[in-house]
């Protein structure tokens, strides 16, 4: 029996990957039973569909299917990691809704669809009683980023009347104002300084795993790769400003994390500081910087979600008042959670033996090549992040054994297997990085090729012996 041709068509498979989690969200909300099973099953459908898309995509088209696959896997893992008390139909439904919206943002080729998906992705975080944080800044950050994006898209539509992203490439639609609004959207959504505070507030006062998933959609970086780079090739003098802001954010947040006591806020700061590096890598205009940024995107997403997941498991087992102000000695009770925590953390801060080392190595080389002096701040920020992470690890897991716990509170089998899968990815990825890098570097080559094309459109001279500042163009 042969498979009908339309089944393997890209729009259909994309539709399945997006529709399945939305269907799952409706099902779990209505049926109100077996939430975890439904969540995992529909996330698995998305994983399968994204894999088909990735296998089918050429090298130049593989970035967005790869990101779809990554986010589907993250959602699958997060659903498995959810502690029993959090695994309610409302939470699982919200996570699935977020998955569908995020995949739609990744796959959107149309400005209006992009805007609609962007709005849908934040809906669960706007409603009280769903994923909305208690603090006001997350709400403000999300709304302001959406407003900036909506105004930018409105401006583009008014000035050109075109909604297809492909048809707008290289046209600088809406001029500097649209560009500025898109940059504002990135700043607010990504948590770039001075709009960084909402990220930690969201992690502190919102539900941990859904918030981690929201943050690791990395919509800010996506906006750079999807709209700013390909649509605005003539903003090469303005674009580095975003990179400088990202590097400043990485350092600022790294310093800020040094005295943070709250594990949730500290992890949020570490994730934010490390993910800010992604923007500087994308902007570095070097092959290694761009490839490093893309791989780093994967490392940060997996590590951060896993770290938040482990933290939530600890909160459920040992109480929600975990703090970094004293040694809690949890390794005695949960040794495997401790080992997983340290491996993901070391991957996040780029220590050898993990994929984080390779991505950081490439990213820092790219950043230093592009901005020799300010690029020096990246290794400094990473070093501070490593210290902050190690402090958190020692405070949570080392120290005197806690009294009052007579049973082991280590990872359950379902948690152990999904954490092991994540550990295998970051460790095997670190030992054999070429397997992951080959495809990412081909995407980076496409970007570099596009840079040359854009340079031909917009020649700029050398300034003070520095390498020619070239605008990045299309990644797709």
């Amino acid at each position: 029996m042969s498979v009908p041709g339309w089944v393997l068509h890209e729009p259909f498979v994309t539709g399945v990957s997006i529709g399945a989690p939305w269907f799952g969200a409706v099902l779990v909300t209505g049926y109100r039973r077996h939430a975890r099973i439904i969540g995992c099953a529909t996330a698995f459908v998305s994983i399968f569909a994204s894999s088909v898309l990735l296998a089918d995509a050429g090298n130049s088209e593989s970035l967005y299917p790869a990101l779809m696959l990554l986010f589907s896997c993250l959602t699958f893992g997060a659903t498995l990691l959810l502690p029993l008390r959090d695994c309610t139909p409302k939470t699982v439904g919200g996570i699935l809704f977020l998955l569908g919206s995020t995949l739609l943002v990744y796959s959107a080729g149309n400005l209006l669809v992009l805007l609609a998906a962007w709005i849908l992705s934040i809906v669960p975080f706007l409603r009280t009683g769903w994923f909305r944080a208690r603090a006001w800044r997350p709400l403000a950050g999300l709304l302001l980023s959406t407003l900036a994006l909506a105004l930018a898209i409105g401006l583009i539509l008014i000035s050109t009347g075109i909604i297809s992203i492909n048809h707008l490439k290289g046209q600088s639609p809406g001029g500097v104002l649209a560009f500025a609004l898109l940059v504002m959207a990135v700043i607010f959504r990504k948590g770039i300084c001075p709009a960084h505070a909402w990220v930690a507030d969201a992690a502190e006062t919102g539900p941990v795993l859904p918030t981690a998933l929201l943050l690791n959609g990395h919509f800010g970086a996506l906006l750079v790769a999807k709209l700013i780079v390909p649509l605005f090739p003539r903003t090469d003098r303005l674009f580095p400003v975003l990179s400088y802001l990202a590097i400043v954010t990485a350092v600022y947040v790294a310093i800020r994390a040094l005295t943070e006591n709250s594990p949730r806020r500290l992890l949020a700061f570490l994730g934010l500081s490390q993910s800010a590096c992604i923007l500087s890598g994308l902007e570095s205009r070097t092959g290694e910087g761009i490839a490093g940024a893309i791989v780093h995107w994967f490392v940060v997403a997996i590590s951060t979600v896993a770290l938040f997941g482990i933290l939530r498991l600890l909160e459920v087992r040992f109480g929600e008042n975990l703090t970094g102000s004293k040694h809690l000695g949890l390794a005695e009770h949960a040794p495997r959670l401790a080992v997983s925590f340290v491996i993901f953390g070391l991957a996040l801060v780029g220590l050898p033996g993990t994929l984080g080392f390779c991505s950081q190595d490439l990213l820092i080389h790219g950043a230093l090549t592009s901005h020799r002096l300010i690029g020096l701040l990246l290794p400094i920020a990473t070093a501070m992040n490593a210290v902050s992470f190690f402090r958190l690890f020692t405070r949570l897991f080392l120290g005197k054994r806690r009294t009052g716990f007579t049973v082991m509170a280590d990872a359950l089998p379902r948690e152990r297997w999904i954490l092991a899968a994540g550990v295998l990815f970051v460790v095997l990825g670190g030992l054999f990085p070429n397997a992951i890098l080959i495809q990412r570097s081909s995407e980076a080559n496409i970007v570099q090729e596009a840079i040359r094309t854009a340079a031909a459109l917009n020649p700029v001279g050398r300034v003070d012996g520095q390498p020619r500042k070239l605008p990045i163009t299309a990644t797709r």
Binding site: Y252, N261, A386, V387, F390, L398, S441, A444, N445
Partner: protein, 446 residues
């Protein structure tokens, strides 16, 4: 792949494979017994020692053993070469690592018998041996940096071996911070070599750099070497590292890790030889450390710290030799110092027993060793010097006052502003006040 190449790969990978296998088995729920673990460890190190002898035989004929695996990863023009190399410089260090690690493993099998962290110790010992073998057998600075980092993290985890007490854990954190700060020098140096020379490999000759470029790279490498080698102004971490178990102190701070910085500079000798300024800086650093080490060591109250400062003094002298270009004297000095210090560290816990045995053997007290040189100084200076030495040259205080405290104050200031928009109800319990790291041991015991 020739036999000597296969043997080199075995020497580097064997401890890494043992570590990986035992780690995976533990994650799956199986912990090996002490006897089995000791047996596997002994077998691994014995085989590695024989393998090293084979490489010595091969190198004696004058050739260098090089194994090229291609690139670990590569993007465009940038690549991370995976080249292992055993030459006349790296071989003594490889041999030292394998032999002393094996020795330490045998010693620890008895010394740590029924200790709660027995398995953890052996796991980390294998990881350390892998990291240092990788660093010493690396054919490029990129790979050397990877091994260097593994040595660093293992070192820190072993300082916090007695994890139930806050002081070792906090001291481990402090050491980690200094390592990470100094390793920035190594990473930026590697970047600079890639940027200026197009490569950081030295298996086919050293990267070609112009005069000022060589100075910059050497200074950056000196920063990394000073951090790992506990040279001034970073010497303050060394006594803190003595919190770890004695066997790990012996292998790390008596033998291998403390000399890794010297190895890095020996590797960079061709560059140093072309830069008088960098050589002078290496000599001055070594000289200052040697003087500091010998004075502070005399005021140390415990055996391990005294030994650590004795090692430090010798490493300072090694730095001077490297700066003067006496490469092979430095290598011989390192081998001798590492071997003697390992033995002294391992005997430190039974020092009193040794003295009693000696007294019994000679039939009375051991005769006085003679006058101390510091007695020649005026009494006021002696007192000042004692206070200075007792506070370990105020190095930690200076580092705290001029680097760490200002950084933490900035951080606390930023925290105050970040939290301005939060109401009390949104701050989770226990997390309201920012921490200080001024007194880590006290902080940890709250």
């Amino acid at each position: 792949m020739s036999l000597s190449q296969a043997v080199l790969v075995f020497v580097v990978l064997a401890p890494g494979v043992v570590f990986a296998v035992f780690a995976v088995l533990w994650l799956l729920g199986w912990t090996p017994g002490e006897r089995f673990l000791s047996w596997v460890t002994g077998l691994t190190f014995a085989a590695s020692a024989i393998a090293i002898a084979a490489i010595v035989w091969s190198i004696a004929s004058g050739s260098t053993v090089t194994v090229t695996f291609g690139n670990w990863f590569a993007v465009g023009d940038y690549h991370f070469p995976l080249v292992l190399m055993a030459d006349r410089l790296s071989l003594p260090f490889l041999a030292l690592t394998v032999v002393l690690s094996g020795l330490i493993a045998q010693f620890s099998a008895t010394y740590l018998h029924r200790e709660q962290g027995f398995f953890r110790f052996f796991l980390l010992l294998h990881l350390f041996t892998f990291g240092s073998s990788l660093a010493f057998a690396a054919g490029s600075f990129d790979l050397l940096a990877a091994g260097w980092e593994v040595v660093g993290i293992t070192s820190v985890l072993l300082i916090g071996f007695f994890q139930l007490r806050p002081a070792p854990v906090e001291n481990g954190l402090r050491v980690f911070g200094i390592y990470r700060a100094c390793d920035i020098g190594l990473f930026v140096a590697v970047f600079a070599m890639h940027h200026w020379a197009g490569t950081a490999s030295f298996d086919r000759g050293f990267p070609t750099l112009a005069g000022s470029q060589a100075v910059v790279v050497c200074v950056l490498l000196l920063l990394a070497a000073a951090g790992k080698g506990a040279q001034i102004p970073f010497s303050g971490w060394l006594p803190r590292a003595m919190e770890g178990p004695t066997p790990s102190s012996a292998i790390f701070y008596g033998a291998i890790s403390i000399h890794a910085g010297a190895y890095l500079l020996l590797r960079a000798q061709p560059l140093l030889a072309r830069s008088a300024l960098a050589s002078a800086m290496v000599i001055l650093t070594g000289l200052a450390t040697a003087i500091h080490g010998t004075i502070v060591g005399r005021a140390s109250a415990d055996a391990k710290t005294s030994l650590a400062y004795a090692t430090l003094t010798q490493v300072g002298l090694v730095f001077i030799e490297i700066g003067l270009g006496w490469k092979w004297l430095a290598v011989a000095h390192i081998l001798g110092n590492a071997t003697v210090r390992t033995m002294q560290f391992l005997r430190a816990p039974s020092m009193l027993h040794d003295y009693h045995q000696m007294h019994s053997a000679i039939g009375g007290e051991v005769s006085a060793t003679g006058k101390q040189m510091e007695e020649l100084l005026p009494e006021g200076v002696q007192l000042w010097l004692y206070r200075w030495a007792f506070d370990r040259g105020h190095l930690d205080t200076i580092l705290d006052r001029w680097v760490i405290d200002p950084l933490l104050e900035v951080s606390a200031y930023l925290a105050k502003h970040d939290r301005a928009g939060l109401t009390r109800s949104t701050i989770r319990p226990g997390n309201a006040a920012p921490i200080t790291l001024r007194d880590p041991a006290k902080q940890g015991s709250d």
